[in-house]
Amino acid sequence: MIYFIRRAGFLLATLWAAVTLNFLIPRLQPGDPAQALLSRLVGKTGVIDPDQLAAVRKMLGAPDGNLLAQYWDYLGALAHGQFGISYTYYPYSVGDVVAQAVPWTLMLVGVTQILSFVIGTLLGAWAAYRRNSRVDTVITLGSTFVGTLPFFWIALLLVFVFAISLNWFPEGGGYGGGSSPGWTWLFFSDAFQHSVLPAVALLITGPIGWIIGMRNNMVQTLGEDYARLARAKGLPRRRIALTYGARIAILPNVTGFAIALGSILGGTVLVESIFSYPGLGRLLLEAVTNKDFPLMQALFLFTTVGVLIANFLADMAYGLLDPRVRRTEAA
């Protein structure tokens, strides 16, 4: 029990630290958001009228004044679930913009992450079970090779072959202009077609880490004394592999998976930019380039909180799966 309370306390402390850092970091950054916004408008020339600048600054409510008071306001707004008004999408609030993007990222990256984990873990376990066989060689060598290829290159190759040359799938976007988001069959089929290429790209590269991790862990656990004893006792190979090998080998992967789920946002920037997918990753990229502080802060906060909570849950799961962890902590 103490273990769980301790973990929860740790979670709260780190959450507070994350919220505070999230408040401070953008404010320590050099540069003026109003200026950035106007520069984007006037393009290469950079001729900006001081009156225009003053107007935009006023409109944005650009942060100035006492840092402590700002911090207090920020905490108060957060407690009410308010993230402010986006600079880029003025006068829409950060909440509106983010809410629109969340489902896309969750569907695309969330689903492919889970699939990658399942596929990777299974393939890794299979390779370890059939160690040094042809299956093992193909899986290990294959994933090492694909792992050396840069993700953007694979993604662009997919676009080139299946979208541009063959014209089987759209080259980007979340759905076509002809269908509007809603609970219609047309929209779902359209959204599905648009998600195929990015999903395939993610599924080619996604499982590799899990395959290699799982295979190595399992090869190691199968070499442990208890596995050897089980073998000496004459237990079936399959049972040894599953209950003595895989169950223990999967532990580090579970932690990894929890963190991976929590940090979906960070990993999604590249895929969403390449396929111009209307999710959080593209939003983050745009927020950073436009110095859209409120949007940036909200997105960073979601990621940090996501990672922390995922970590907490992984710790909990760990404590349940492996009694030794609880005992060491309590001692």
């Binding site: 916004l37 106007l38 408008l41 290469k44 020339t45 950079g46 001729v47 900006i48 009228d49 001081p50 009156d51 225009q52 600048l53 107007a55 935009v56 006023k58 409109m59 880029t88 999408y89 003025y90 006068p91 829409y92 509106d96 913009v97 629109q100 993007a101 676009v159 299946f162 541009i164 014209n167 089987w168 799938f169 759209p170 080259e171 980007g172 976007g173 979340g174 759905y175 076509g176 202009g177 002809g178 269908s179 509007s180 988001p181 069959w185 047309l186 089929s189 359209d190 599905f192 077609q193 195929v196 395939v200 930019s273 111009s276 209307p278 593209r282 939003l283 990229l285 745009e286 436009n290």
Partner: protein, 557 residues
Amino acid sequence: MTRRPRNITALMATLTSSCLLLAGCTGTEESGGSVSTDGMISHISYAGIGGGSAPQANYNPFLDASQLVATNFVYETLYVIEQNSCKEVPWLAKSYSWRDSRTLVFDIRDGVQWNDGQAFTAKDVAFTFNMIKKHDVLDTKGVWPLLDSVKATGDDQVTFSLKEPGASPFTIINSVRIVPEHIWSKVKDPTKFANAKNPVGTGPMRVKSFNPQQVVTERNPRYWQADKVKVKEVWFKANTGTPEIEQLKMGRGEYDTNGMFIPNVQKSYVDRDPKHHHYWYAPGMVMSVYMNLTKAPFEDVAFRRALTSAFDRGSVARKAQLGYVKTASQTGLVLPGQSDWLPPGTKDGGRVGFDPKAAEKALTEAGYKKDSQGRRLGKDGKPISFKFKVPTAYTDWVAAAEILVKNLKALGLQVELDRTSPEAHDEDRAYGRYDMMFGAHGGDCNMSLGFGHPLGSDGTAPIGKRAFSNEVRWKDKKTDDLLADLRTASSKRDQKKAVAGLVEIMQTEVPMIPIWYGAKWFQYDTTRAVGWPNAKNPYAAGGDNLILLTHLRPARG
């Protein structure tokens, strides 16, 4: 499907077949033939919706940063200043007159209706201007610093009182888009008004549907020149943000018009469908070599003047700019569009030819001798060495800078190319942290801004402080006087006199050295619609959407 998919190919095949079952894989938008039987164009599509990567419905004509492109088709101005030859085209106002040098009166066009059926009156105009006075953050064009008051003086007359005499506020007044009083007077805070539902304007189009991938506008049957608009719908399609893919979509004919930079436009656009794909790149802004005028040797006018003939502008236009545009004139005017303003007797439009020998001679005469190793020496006896800053990301600028640096080196100057990021480049220019670099200026239909921005001393700042427009840091009493004359001149004759004075300053004092004209990128497709402007028929610039819409005709039938 009898076999399980064994490899990626099989998997893809399975996915495709299921995709085909799901009602049409791609191209859901293209519906039927391009020619309609009613003499109308079914639709034209534009590249880009505006409003970032997650566009939100926003048609507030005063929120320049976040509004969608469709806003430009819903709201109109009193006059439209056509951006190619700067013609003043009567629009919501049918005429204007000067009561005195500070009082400008517009006569409002009769019979104009808002797209909800209400009549448009002079009161709407006065309301719009007074609203952006009250909510000054909406005055992003900066019109009120120039105005005293705006009043409706009759049902069809609006009177503007100016702070200073002179015609120069005219173009700024006509950049303000007019909104209906009966809607906006009820809006509590117009600075936070997204105007997302059925925006009411006088324009040729009204919003039909919005989603973040596509905005559709339809023809407004109540439009005051509806008989001239033959376009049933205008579609705005989301930009993917990847230039290569956008080029591909253009080549496929997905956009009827676009304004993007395409490397080798002939091959990647025109040749894909030579009959229908065209482009017209009219000269836009002046791209100049900016010299840091606070530093030696650039503070010496003789040195600057010597450099005017040192640059091979022809090579830059041909090689670095792929021949899309022409070399620039030292006058600072954008030719041929502004040739009206050239002082009479200006030879060859004020263009300075490439003459390295003359540059060599002029430098030597100005006291910049060469040492035994052929290095050009400064007044302090040391070899002159400086850096030419250029943003790595603008490949055309880098190519141009490489040519210019070679020209300078040939004169014995020790010049190095200094590549930076575009952001750092723009910051350094604004703060004056450079020796030599490119800058853009001019090209404005408001001459007073075209010359005032780069040359007026009110736009500059000391080195290390941000200069808002005069980044070369040109400070000159005579220039400021001429700019004041230009600003307050009411007659074209007086304006031309002031411009002639400024042109002379550009030529003799050389505050900057114009090299080429930036292009107004404009591509168009004649599959569905004809009547686009081009070099042979330059009735407007490619971006003058309101004018274009009244000129487009169906391609056949």
